[in-house]
Amino acid sequence: MKSTSAATAPRSPGLAKVSSGIPGLDDITDGGLPKGRSTLVCGGAGSGKTLFAIEFLVHGARRFDEPGVLMAFDETANDLIQNVASLGFGLPDLIRRKKFLIDFVRVEAAEILETGEYDLEGLFVRLGHAIDSIGAKRVALDSLETLFAGLSNTAILRSELRRLFRWMKDRGVTSVITAERGEGTLTRHGLEEYISDCVVLLDHRVHNQVATRRLRIVKYRGSHHGADEFPFLIGDHGLVVLPITSLGLTHVAGTERVSSGVPRLDQMLGGKGYFRGSSILVSGTAGTGKTSFSAHLVDAACRRGERSLIFLFEESPSQLIRNMQSIGVDLSRWVEMDRLRIYAARPTLHGLETHLATMHQVTAEFQPHVVAVDPVTNLAAAGTLQEAKSLLIRLIDHFKERQITAFFTSLTHGEQHEESTDIGISSLMDTWLLIRELETNGERNRVLYLLKSRGMSHSNQVREFRLTDNGIDLIDVYVGPGVVLTGTARLAQEARDRAEELDRRQAFLKRKHDLDQRRQALQSQLGALQLEHRSIEEELQTTLAQESAWFDTQRANRIDLARVRQADPARMPMNGNESPAGRARPTRGSGKSKKGAGQ
């Protein structure tokens, strides 16, 4: 975070700053509180002013070897030590090592009677003595305004406070002064008039019975600072400010892929699954199996040896584990191996910002690779939709920046499960799966669409999916002309298709058989005809031969006859050489010549 802010906003030169010790605040203030100056921290009762002051001092004492003095006007040293004991500041140890000093300043109105002119030199002396005794560099006054309750001469108080701030500046200590918030003013007694270098406003707001803490830098002279209201949290280790909106869109987009845990879904996602560090949204109505998809992703990550984190806003961890066991996903073993942590909370437990802060903190502690939030839509119950959306934007940014693959489930309501989510976060998502229930023929079936998946080729096909004992099973839906069928309708249609195909095949076979037969019949007919043809041919040959023989005989007879009658040799038929050709000539020709010869 630090590097991000340093990269985006170079520290303003000239104004030295000291780290406030409050995670996130240094990012907003571009380095911390003004060194050697006073910072006014104002807020209502219970807004965390005292904790702010103590953390500022403890941080300095522990990490920068800058001892700190706390002038406590409201609580005794013992009370303070006990109050912050659970936060692990180790105050008694710091006090023993002379790194921390608490001076409880008791101003009891009942004991005090004003009898004339006075000044606050007593306070100066005590503070000066405290600073000198441990070499303090940091001072906190919590809260100065108690003086106004004990002493009535505000004219004196004001001039003395003005003197005090100047005096502290002269001494070069960096100070935090807390003050109660006033009606219409930052502080009840107008301290902001004197402390004008840096003013921090803490707010504890209740909206819809849910309290949210917010912090705002009202002014910071000579320095760039975030002007928004930033949510903050009083967590196990003190204040945490979440300067999330100060982040730019600078996260690195990797190309590594992670399996969704459902092989068929990986296939739909270009064959490799989701991008690591991307955000995935699955939306659908109640009971469509959104949680099952998240469990698969988590399970796949744990199998790879990665750490996963599930935020539940609907179920208890054991309920989730039991439910996922019923579809063959055993999450309990990952919990035992501490690869999986499940954080469950009612959305209405605290405000959105607190949820966000808690999620940040849990994420920071566990350093998961995969985070599932189930369901994000329930967070809207802890605030307004607008707030929920802004929370999610920051949450998504947060995960992206850390290359955490984030899986969000979104519950859509009623029949209008259109391609939008209730809290309008779909545009922030890289991959969006939409689960729809199709109700036909008295049954509901789930189908999965891949609405978008940035940066990868992905399937445009609708898949039917079933929750089996072995997890999610994706099946091709029946896509016929103009219809998409699922469930038993798909099965019925498939059966119909099969029957139809069988019919067709049988009809085809029958026709083929018929044709074959006809062909064979023709074949045999053809044989008979050929036989006939051959016999006719043979007959013809025989006839020709007979004819030829007859002709030869005739001619021989004529020659014999002529010889007998002593006829002219010229009248004799042509010599024997020509006789074969003459024999081949049409019989009629021979007949004519025979007739002619006869005449």
Binding site: D103, V105, R106, V107, E108, E111, I112, L113, E114, T115, G116, E117, Y118, D119, L120, E121, G122, L123, V125, R126, G128, H129, A130, L147, G150, L151
Partner: protein
């Protein structure tokens, strides 16, 4: 808590009109905290002494303490504003803040009104 410095500035009890008011059972112990020799300090010291002499008549002990000299004592005694006159005894504990110029209030603060009337 020992008060060394106070010895020098202490106004010793003066047994001038000794047997006026009830027996010395209600001895008044006062401490005046001042910061150096500012006009406020001087006025307060003078006023305190005058007051003691006029109203307490020997039954008191007044210590004047300079918080510059004894800052720890200022802390231990919860001094914020100076001058502060602390009435340690008799109870209740009272802190009279200021230069004691408004003597009416001083007398109220020290429960001395009845004493004056007597």
């Amino acid at each position: 808590m020992t008060v060394r410095k106070a010895v020098s500035t202490r106004t010793a009890s003066t047994p001038r009109r000794a047997p006026v008011t009830p027996a010395p059972k209600n001895r008044v112990i006062l401490r005046l905290y001042v910061a150096g020799t500012t006009p406020n300090s001087t006025r307060a010291i003078l006023a305190a002494r005058k007051l003691c002499q006029e109203h307490l008549d020997g039954l008191y002990r007044l210590e004047v303490i300079d918080i510059y000299q004894r800052p720890r004592l200022a802390r231990d005694e919860q001094i914020v504003a100076v001058p502060t006159l602390v009435k340690r005894l008799p109870p209740p504990l009272r802190r009279l803040v200021g230069d004691l110029s408004v003597s009416e209030r001083v007398l109220i603060g020290l429960d001395l009104r009845d004493t004056t009337k007597n």
